[in-house]
Symmetry: C2
Subunit: 320 residues, 2 copies
DNA sequence: AGCCTAAATGAAATCGATTTCAGGGTCAAG
DNA sequence: CTTGACCCTGAAATCGATTTCATTTAGGCT
């Protein structure tokens, strides 16, 4: 309720002086003290809306993610939050549910609330960021890269290779792959790594894509794809699953068919969330979610502080 | 970049008229059309900051939760989001990490950004909501009840009873309980239900609290508590765990000791997240997270629309 | 003592919307 | 033909901070 005008009146100074006190601009010790006392008495909380309107930018950064129920993204969010908090920014989390329309709506909100910047794991490769960039709002794409803007990702192809090689070394022959939606860069990259390894195997006289399934990065999708693979005349003896949730689904399918790993081999890109199974049997390619978030926030904050290097494309190593 | 003044100039009308067009106030069809065309050409996005400043309230509701990495709270968040979106509100998610100080900081942000209202799963029972309520911002406490404000919870005592009874019916004798931090209402309620059942059992000639452990609602806490219980001279033969994450930790401990349920009985308050284990062995008391979120959002929105009934305390039934 | 520089302060403009108030136009009833 | 009622419309005030610009004050140096 109390405004800087009230505080100013009570302290016997001008509103400008009150503003200066709260922004660390030199004010005589004696006045400064009077202002603080007055603010305290009125339990004054500065109105950020007015501040944002005048400064044309808030201290809030938006983090837009496609699935808030996926522990990968919440871990990433924790990373963003930690770094942002340390620099005095608040983070607001927006969940698009992999829906391009919801995403577009949130992007409008970002512009229209004058948020400082945005970290985006895009639901659609076709996001329109012109409203943002035209207004000079920095954008960092995380996990899923986007053209034109800074990007923080992992090496999906290498991860796919590592996972598949691990299965090969465990002696599996017919290695399937369950990946994400077609056209999604993370999904394609991981499948590419898998295919690459299989093609270079001497024994690969069959078309690997027979064992390739595109699903939706969700538990049910992984489950359905695994069931489908198990119903083949010659089912695979191992599977590389391209994300954590689909791995959960696939694992459930295997358990239902009494094929608990390592009866059938499994490798997952990203840790299995809250796994209670003993880790024997499932090979996990670590996906440093929190680090991704931290790096993205770091980069965004540098941009907010005026860094104008050319476009950065950071690729985090998989700490194999 | 474009403001209503630019749009007004291009359309040859006053800024007031532009505002009216975007707020559904009657404007002649012909002018309205000119305004829309102009806005389109300038790709005008209304500045919500200015709007909020003038209206003294934004269309954003804050959801403050203690642990964004707990699937229970993300499911709850989904419920809030769905209902809020449908009424035209955006949701911003704030993670307090069970830290009262972070929580207080976010509450200040809520005030200072003129957010419309707030849904709170409080980290501390001692939250100070006077700044909010004095300014007439509605507050709904969810999952964890608070005095003075509207509240949406489940019946914790009944849940604890049901879980414990289920273990009794499965023939277990020495039933332990791992609950949350002392003083947290949800933790105490669930433990009370457990104790109640044990006290009424004829065979309960021993003090049940010998088998009671207070942990932190997190995976590691559940694990440590379970290990501790297993190291007792006469370890329990079953355990009721008061939340999903601690259940994961306890389950891991049991598996490590080759006591996978049902070798040792287990009941969990709330679904095990992403369980890959076959459900045999672990009794689950369902916790309707999403429904909690929906109900809380529903109630908050009614308050925002002027509902002034006395304080509501909604208790969702456990769909046993 | 006098002059110059630098620091501290306040008045007023500004950010971009909403909303009150008053004026002007249209139409129907008397 | 006049009067009133009602609907559109625009001018201007308003929300609460920040910031420019001009002015005052203090202090240092010769």
């Amino acid at each position: 309720m109390a405004t800087i005008y009230d505080v100013a009146a009570l302290a016997g100074v001008s509103p400008a002086t009150v503003s200066r006190v709260f922004n660390g601009i030199t004010v005589s010790a004696e006045r400064s003290e009077r202002v603080r006392a007055a603010a305290e008495r009125l339990s004054f909380i500065p109105n950020r809306t007015a501040r944002t309107l005048r400064k044309q930018s808030s201290e809030v950064i938006a983090l837009i993610i496609p699935d808030i129920e996926n522990p990968f993204f919440t871990a990433l969010a924790r990373g963003v939050e930690d770094v942002a908090q340390a620099s005095g920014y608040s983070v607001v989390l927006c969940n698009t549910d992999e829906d391009a329309e919801k995403e577009a709506r949130y992007l409008d909100v970002v512009v229209s609330e004058n948020m400082a910047g945005i970290i985006l794991a895009a639901a659609s490769d076709l996001v329109n960021l012109t409203d943002l960039t035209r207004r000079g709002r920095p954008v960092v794409a995380v996990d899923r890269s986007l053209p034109e803007v800074d990007t923080v990702t992992v090496d999906n192809v290498a991860g796919g290779r590592d996972a598949t090689r691990a299965l090969v070394e465990q002696g599996f022959q017919r290695i399937a792959c369950i990946t994400g939606p077609t056209g999604r860069t993370t999904a394609e990259g991981r499948a590419d790594g898998w295919r690459e390894v299989l093609m270079t195997m001497s024994a690969a006289h069959v078309d690997p894509d027979r064992y390739l399934r595109y699903a939706d990065f969700r538990v049910e999708g992984g489950h359905a794809a695994m069931v489908d693979l198990l119903n083949l005349p010659e089912p695979p003896d191992a599977v590389f699953v391209a994300n954590n949730l689909m791995a959960v689904g696939a694992l459930r399918a295997l358990i239902e068919h009494d094929l608990t790993p390592p009866l059938v081999g499994m490798a997952s890109f990203g840790d299995l969330p809250f796994a209670t199974l003993s880790p024997r049997g499932v090979t996990v390619i670590p996906l440093p979610a929190r680090l991704l978030g931290e790096a993205a926030a770091q980069l965004l904050i540098e941009r907010l502080q005026g860094d104008d290097r050319p476009r950065q494309a950071i690729r985090l190593g998989n700490p194999a």
